[in-house]
């Protein structure tokens, strides 16, 4: 068996933050603090979790947009975390990115034609200018943009069309992996569906692997193969989508899933309403990082960090509990709000 396309081993990325205006002591943001996963060829792995949990930082580490603090990033059997910029070029071609707002990453003065030609030229993927032109036209067809808009500039396009340009630019490099960082999050419902369908078609057509970073769990479920749930810089659970969505093993996964509103009036559901906000990644809680918000917390959770262990077929979880307890409260009432109670944060 060949190596997975991407292997991330115990990845850490800590950002320095100044303690205060006059403080010399610097603190660290433990943005990503020991994360391991693999992505197979042609597979979609989604990273989910509340904002600030480190999803984008993982993505940017893989793209080598900065040096990592510790760990390894291995692409097709070759470590890329320590590569010099010169040796990085080939790898840069193989891993591309699509951001949430392509506008900020598309040069406003460049025409679409040049935006798409640039990576083809940089990576030497066309032997003649005729071939370059042919490739650019083919890319437009692939992302279903009309060819006659090639000479327009980014501001002349709608959000959905700009995202198509962003995808076309990523495809121009003929990558094997695309990091999609909230790539459909800002789009309107109908356009979002168009782009999700496009990404799925492209994956099938080119055998692309996707690292799909998103906070939209319904979209994730729709298009992913596996899911890794992050909380405060760590993966707390990772499993095939069938298992993670129907039988989550980590209390955080369950709470996160139950918070998603379902477009079905009168649907009975009993959300585990998590208390409070995510704690600061500058001073993460001891033991299990989720213990301050966990409905099932017990002594061990406060002191001992749970190991990320294999808990079933392809299922990984970091929790001291072997099985999740039943939720207290009547399942009949979707939103039990006792009279005269004060909602607590």
């Amino acid at each position: 068996m060949s190596a997975p396309l991407l292997q991330v081993n115990d990845l850490k990325k800590h950002f320095p933050v100044r303690g205060g205006l006059f403080s010399r002591k610097s603190n660290w943001v433990y943005a990503v603090d020991g994360v391991s996963f693999e992505v197979e060829r042609g597979e979609t792995l989604s990273l989910v979790g509340e904002s600030g949990c480190g999803k984008s930082t993982v993505g940017r580490a893989i793209l080598r947009l900065f040096d990592i603090t510790a760990g390894q990033v291995v692409l097709d059997g070759q470590r890329i975390d320590g590569l010099s910029p010169r040796n990085l070029l080939g790898m840069r071609r193989r891993v591309q990115v699509v951001f949430q707002d392509p506008f900020s990453s598309l040069n406003p003065r460049m025409r679409v034609r040049d935006i798409l030609a640039e990576p083809i030229r940089n990576f030497g993927l066309a032997k003649s200018s005729a071939e370059l032109e042919a490739r650019v036209l083919a890319l437009m067809d692939t992302v279903r943009l009309p060819r006659d808009v090639l000479d327009r500039r980014p501001h002349e396009f709608s959000g959905g069309q700009r995202q198509r340009i962003g995808i076309a630019r990523a495809l121009a490099a003929e990558p094997e992996l695309i990091v999609c960082d909230e790539a459909v999050s800002a789009l309107d419902v109908s356009v979002k569906a168009q782009i999700v369908n496009l990404l799925q078609d492209l994956q099938r057509e080119f055998g692309l692997a996707l690292l799909f970073i998103s906070h939209d769990l319904a979209i994730v479920e729709h298009m992913t193969h596996r899911v890794a749930v992050m909380y405060l810089g760590k993966i707390v659970e990772m499993a095939p989508k069938q298992t993670i969505f129907s039988a989550p093993k980590h209390p955080y996964t369950r709470a996160l899933l139950s918070a998603v509103p379902v477009p079905e009036p009168g649907a009975t559901r009993s959300p585990t309403v998590l208390k409070g906000d995510v704690p600061s990644p500058i001073n993460p809680p001891s033991g299990c990082r989720f213990h301050t918000r966990c409905p099932f917390v017990f002594d061990r959770c406060r002191t001992e960090e749970p190991e990320f262990r294999l808990a079933g077929d392809g299922e990984w979880v970091a929790c001291h509990l072997d099985a999740l307890p039943e939720l207290p409260g009547p399942p009949g009432d979707p939103r039990p709000v006792p009279p005269n109670s004060t909602p607590v944060e």
């Binding site: 959905g160 309107d188 419902v189 479920e221 969505f245 709470a255 409070g276 939103r335 004060t342």
Partner: protein, 329 residues
């Protein structure tokens, strides 16, 4: 009697490229204590509608026409002075981005207190006490400490709570919430939605909830109005709308959102796409506003704008071809 009755609301903007018909002849009502959701994609006129209700549209370049009856007064006929007595008192509003309505240089206590002193004539002491009470009500821990803090010291979820506390301080009859949870994580969204429902139950306020999230609509609305390109295209009680949407646009919207759990059994389904995009509001559209994207459109649709018609009890649709009669089960 409806609490709010909007008739033929037209809010247009003069722009260098022509008139932008942001809201183009929209009528609806809200009953006392009712939750009405307004849904539609960005740019369809949801925020302009809500800002028009509050008379917060800059004039010029904007211009509001029609009538907005609230408790027997036509808000469009009131002086700015009279309107100020209603804003934040009888009708209040919460926004997607709390910093648009929170003053960064005032403490949380001062902001809530100011509203109370202005509208209810409370003295400083009483206003502060009430501010702490409101913070407790919206579930902010350590309210006596938080009341002395500034907005930037709070998390996003907490700012949203402060804004809700401020909006509800004077027991409004109508709360307008424009994408109140769109910028928040689902876990915080669940807290805020629960809070809004709970407060509504207690205070009895009617809510106009503006959102593009159909999950949120299903969760908390009683009635739904669907907007497209500045017009109302469909309106129905929430269960009826989700069970039997009759406008092709509404059908498209519902087909385009995946439902959690739906891809786990059976073969993977493609999301339904609505081809194309929302048309420019700066060109006059004579026929149906959705005709350009509608798979079922005919010449009739392109030439004649369909009127809003009742197709089933309380179910209104603007489509020449929408089926009539009670929902097929």
């Amino acid at each position: 009697m409806a609490l709010l009755e909007v008739q033929n609301l037209q809010t247009h903007f003069r722009t260098p490229e022509g008139i932008n018909r942001a809201v183009d002849g929209v009528s609806f009502h809200v009953d006392e204590g009712e939750t009405l959701a307004i849904v539609g994609e960005s740019g369809c006129g949801k925020s302009v509608t809500s800002m028009s209700l509050m008379r917060l549209i800059p004039e010029p370049p904007g211009k509001i026409a029609g009538s907005i009856r609230f408790q027997d007064k036509d808000l469009l006929q009131l002086s700015e002075h009279e309107m100020r007595a209603i804003r934040g008192n009888d009708i209040s509003m919460i926004f997607q981005e709390p910093m648009t309505s929170l003053n960064p240089v005032l403490t949380v206590g001062r902001q809530i207190g100011e509203t109370l002193r202005m509208h209810q004539g409370l003295d400083k002491q009483a206003a502060l006490a009430r501010a702490i009470e409101m913070l407790t009500l919206v579930g902010i821990p350590e309210p006596a400490r938080r009341v002395r803090e500034y907005p930037h010291q709070l998390s996003g979820g907490m700012r949203q709570r402060v804004m809700i506390a401020m909006a509800l301080a004077c027991n409004p009859k109508l709360l307008i919430a424009d994408e109140p949870t769109t910028a928040l994580d689902v876990t915080i969204q669940a807290q805020i939605l629960r809070l809004m429902l709970d407060l509504k139950r207690r205070v009895g306020a009617a809510i106009v909830l503006i959102t593009h999230d159909l999950g949120v609509v299903a969760e908390i609305a009683e009635r739904v109005m669907v907007m497209y390109a500045g017009r109302k295209v469909e309106e129905a009680p929430v269960a009826e709308l989700f069970r039997s949407p009759r406008h092709p646009y509404t059908q498209g919207l519902l087909g385009a959102v995946p439902k959690l759990g739906s891809s786990l059994s059976g073969a993977a389904r493609r999301l339904a796409e609505i081809p194309g995009q929302v048309p420019s509001l700066k060109k006059r559209i004579d026929g149906c506003v959705f005709a350009g994207r509608c798979a079922l459109a005919t010449d009739l649709c392109r030439e004649v704008a369909p009127g809003l018609e009742q197709k089933a009890p309380r179910h209104i649709v603007a489509c020449h071809y929408a089926p009539r009669g009670a929902a097929a089960a």
